[in-house]
């Protein structure tokens, strides 16, 4: 028990520290509330219960870096249990005879857990300090061209980590030592306190007075530090332990492939921090600065100036410095001046890997799209992108080609494809720009047509009436053009008679499936992998030959990560007799080809070190005896066919579409030249 003077001193300390900390916390709430609107949250109770369960099981943390996550779990579970330990220690300070040592079995179990968790927390924390200050892994470094807020480049994260680390070591270490002193003073060990008992012998030679002082000092270090830390807490990344569960509970529940609407059409997107929807301001406070998002980012890996981690961290450091001016309604600088550079905004492939991997539910990608929306509205876009957007506006395709040439690829078929704008069809094939206009992809499109024709499927295409669905246009930030394209397409689709839509383009699939329903387009939409698989299973497509080859499969972002379709293309491959060898980064963790979000239309970043597609090819080449790299997205076919050549792996790997396997396995007779279309 504390002396009366100590008891009063502690209460004064608590009041002062809570008072000092209050301002910091209330500012955070005010800053977050300054953000823009978002779609209302429903089912708050369920959301919070689920978030607490996930956090309790450490699920968001174990999405990546399993070893680091184990040490994080040590600290997490230790700290969670320490809530009870701290309450008990408070009682011990103010309630006479409150003592868990030497109590009954309940107190014994409590002591055992406290003893074990103390060691686990200390081990975890020492691991993290060694990692940051001795091992210094590359994942904690940024590309030299990444924009960093002055406080960040001055080593703010290291300083914060050191402060937090020291606090945890002192807090938990002192508490554990206090127990050691207690045992040393009592002169005997306690089987419920195995590690403290081991240490108690070391101090057994000390006088009772010295041990008593030791107990008081360790109590003050353990309990006093908590409250001393509170005023610093709102500035520290350690705040994540409070904000992360809230951020996870408030996570987006709409499909990943739906983008948030533009709130103000006269000034779309974001210039300043407060222009962002408020959950995206909260992101900055939830961020634990682990750089996992940066580690999976194809743009950062290829040497560009984009780091989704730096974006969140810069936001946070800016807020730490400026929150008190912001809450008074002070003028805010553009995010582009401190959070992210303009060229980095244009380097994002919108692959969603950063959002998916984040252990605290942050969405840096969404910030980038908000920034793009405003840049596009100001006409500040790369010239080559402007050219493509103009072409899309005038002609409805990203190739700037005549709409009338859209169905030209069908000319080389030996049969006619139905014009779904003119006659009813069972299945409407939405071909997409790449599969229609790109020469290499046209060949793949013809193979799809041949497979369906041979299987007797009643299908048609919209010919020149089809326009780009605008999936990537929307992710470039050109909201108006996306709406215009969608309106035109929805009108065309409304005039057609069909039962279902299927598409060979995963970007098109995402727009039709997720974005168009919000604009009134309610269709059954399937990716061709799902569609073909069904036809195979129903027996309409008959696979006669087993290919007996080993191949790997590349999950397209907009099919896999965005829409959760991983198995259908793999099942088709297996049914064709292809044995699948997975790349280390597969399914949810698939590595983006680098083409999405408008990248395929843009020049390469001047600092590019390696194309994401080449990085991916190297991953595939490293697999054992795999000769085929399989894709299910037209852009991938061209990109990877190039990457195989430019990375010098032409002799090792052949890029194939899943339809290549199907066609080959069907073992169709080659159409004789005489049978060519009349």
């Amino acid at each position: 028990m504390l002396t009366p003077l100590e008891q009063i001193a502690f209460i004064v300390l608590v009041v002062v520290c809570l008072g000092l900390g209050y301002r910091g916390f209330s500012r955070i709430i005010q800053v977050v509330r300054s953000g823009g609107k978002t779609e209302p949250f429903d089912h708050l109770v369920r959301r919070f219960i689920n978030a607490l369960i996930d956090v309790g099981l450490q699920k968001p943390v174990f999405k990546a870096r399993p070893i680091v996550s184990i040490f994080h779990a040590f600290i997490f579970f230790g700290f969670s249990f320490y809530i009870l330990v701290n309450i008990s220690d408070l009682l011990a300070a103010y309630v006479a005879d409150w003592n868990t040592i030497g109590g009954g079995p309940v107190a014994g179990v409590f002591n055992l857990l406290a003893d074990i968790f103390s060691i686990l927390v200390l081990v975890g924390m020492i691991f993290f300090l060694i990692r940051r200050f001795v091992a210094k892994p590359d994942v904690l470094k940024y590309n030299p061209n990444v924009k960093l807020y002055p406080g960040v480049s001055a080593g703010g994260i290291r300083r914060d980590s050191l402060i937090v680390g020291t606090f945890i070591l002192l807090h938990v270490g002192s508490r554990w030592l206090g127990t050691v002193f207690h045992l040393a003073a009592s002169g005997h060990t306690d089987p419920w306190l195995p590690t403290a008992s081991l240490m108690a012998g070391v101090f057994s030679g000390l006088s009772h007075d010295a041990l008593s002082i030791g107990m008081h000092v360790s109590w003050w270090l353990a309990m006093g530090l908590i409250f001393l830390f509170i005023p610093y807490f709102p500035r520290s990344k350690h705040l994540h332990l409070m904000v992360a569960p809230i951020n996870l509970a408030l996570g987006r529940e709409t499909p990943r492939g739906v983008m948030g609407p533009v709130e103000d059409v006269t000034s779309p997107g974001a210039v300043t921090l407060s222009d962002l929807p408020w959950p995206q301001i909260l992101d900055a406070y939830a961020c634990i600065m682990c750089n996992r998002c940066q580690e999976v980012c194809p743009a950062h890996q290829s040497g560009t100036s984009l780091s989704p981690a730096a974006l969140e961290i810069n936001k946070r450091y800016f807020l730490n410095d400026n929150a008190k001016y912001l809450v008074k309604g002070g003028e805010q600088p553009s995010l582009l001046t401190y959070a992210i550079s303009e060229d980095a905004v244009w380097a994002c492939t919108t692959c969603y890997a950063c959002v998916k991997v984040c252990p605290v539910g942050n969405e840096p990608m969404m910030d980038i799209i908000e920034l793009r929306r405003q840049l596009v509205f100001d006409g500040r876009i790369p010239d080559e992108l402007a050219e493509v957007l103009r072409g899309l506006d005038e002609k409805g395709n990203s190739f700037g080609e005549s709409a009338r040439k859209r169905s030209r690829w069908t000319r080389d078929l030996y049969f006619e494809i139905k014009d779904a704008a003119q006659e009813p069809v069972q299945y409407l094939w939405y071909v997409g720009d790449f599969a229609s206009y790109n020469q290499d992809c046209q060949e793949t499109s013809r193979k799809v047509a041949r497979v369906l024709h041979a299987a007797g499927v009643d299908f048609g295409i919209l010919m020149k009436g089809e326009k780009s669905t605008g999936n990537d246009v929307r992710r470039i930030g050109e909201e108006g053009l996306f709406e215009a394209l969608a309106e035109d397409n929805l009108k065309t689709l409304a005039d057609g008679q069909f039962e279902e839509i299927f598409t060979t383009d995963s970007h098109t699939f995402n727009a039709l499936k997720n974005e168009y329903p919000r604009l009134g387009g309610d269709f059954t939409v399937k990716h061709y992998s799902t569609f073909i698989l069904q036809l195979v299973k129903s027996g309409q497509i008959q696979l006669k030959k087993k290919l007996n080859i080993r191949a790997t499969f590349h999950d397209p972002c907009y099919l896999g990560r965005y829409n959760g379709i991983y198995d259908d293309p793999r099942e088709i491959m297996e049914l064709c007799g292809v044995s699948i060898v997975e790349m280390p980064r597969n399914k949810e963790n698939s590595f983006c080809c680098g083409a999405g979000g408008g990248q395929i239309y843009m020049k390469e970043h001047p600092d590019l070190t390696q194309r994401p597609s080449e990085n991916r090819i190297e991953e595939a080449v490293a697999l054992d005896a795999v000769g085929y790299f399989t894709v299910a997205c037209p852009k991938d076919l061209t990109l990877y066919a190039d990457a195989v050549k430019t990375s010098g792996n032409k002799d090792k790997l052949v890029v194939r579409d899943i339809i290549d396997y199907v066609l080959e396995a069907m073992a169709l007779p080659e159409p004789a030249p005489a049978a060519a279309k009349a």
Binding site: V265, G379, K395, G400, S402, G480
Partner: protein, 247 residues
Amino acid sequence: MRIIVPLKLVPDLVEELEVDDSGRALDTEYVKFKLNEFDDHALEEALLLKDSAGAEVTAMAVVTEDADKLLFTALAKGADSAIKLTGGEPKDSHQLARMFANAIASQGFDLVMTGVQSVDDRDGQLGPILATYLGIPCISVVTGVQISGNSVTINKEYSGGVMAEFEVDTPAVLGIQAARQTPRYAPVSKIRQIQQTTSIETVAAGDLGSGAGSEISHMSRPEKGQGAKMLNSVDELLEVLKQVGLV
């Protein structure tokens, strides 16, 4: 400074162009039209002047199916007003110039900036004829404009990369070859917004005059040649010259 930018729609060259049944004109029934690229540069240069020296920019176009979108796009890019000319179908650059001159004369202006030529007729005449009708000077193949008080400094490009600088008193007509930077992008959301909030002024075409006095008698695709033969030595060349009887 008030700048008027006459804009013209031309057939989009990515389309397959065909000659109509008369054999004297393009079949325009299925052809898509787009803004003449040089006019886009003229508009950009005018908007750059507005940004740097503060000018009032008016875009002008002859009424056609796509003219509204063209003019709303110009407004979205930053033009202050837009005028469409109705009641006339100019058949050549003389009549088009007359139509623009009628409208421009009724407006106060300091500069008329138009594309140096257009991809449809390749006349390069609109600027000079317009200047003639308006009775003011004209400079063509302009690649840069700067405003200094009542006069403007013009950069003009000659063959072989020779550049000249002119001081021109306003009012004047300028035929723009290229703006100092790539024409800016007009976001569709802004165009749509302007469509709802701004209106385009309409001005009657007036008398178009008799035109150039020349007529197209025949229009056809270029005939395909036989293909070139690559020669590898002087001896081979001599052989060929001997065959055709030149040596």
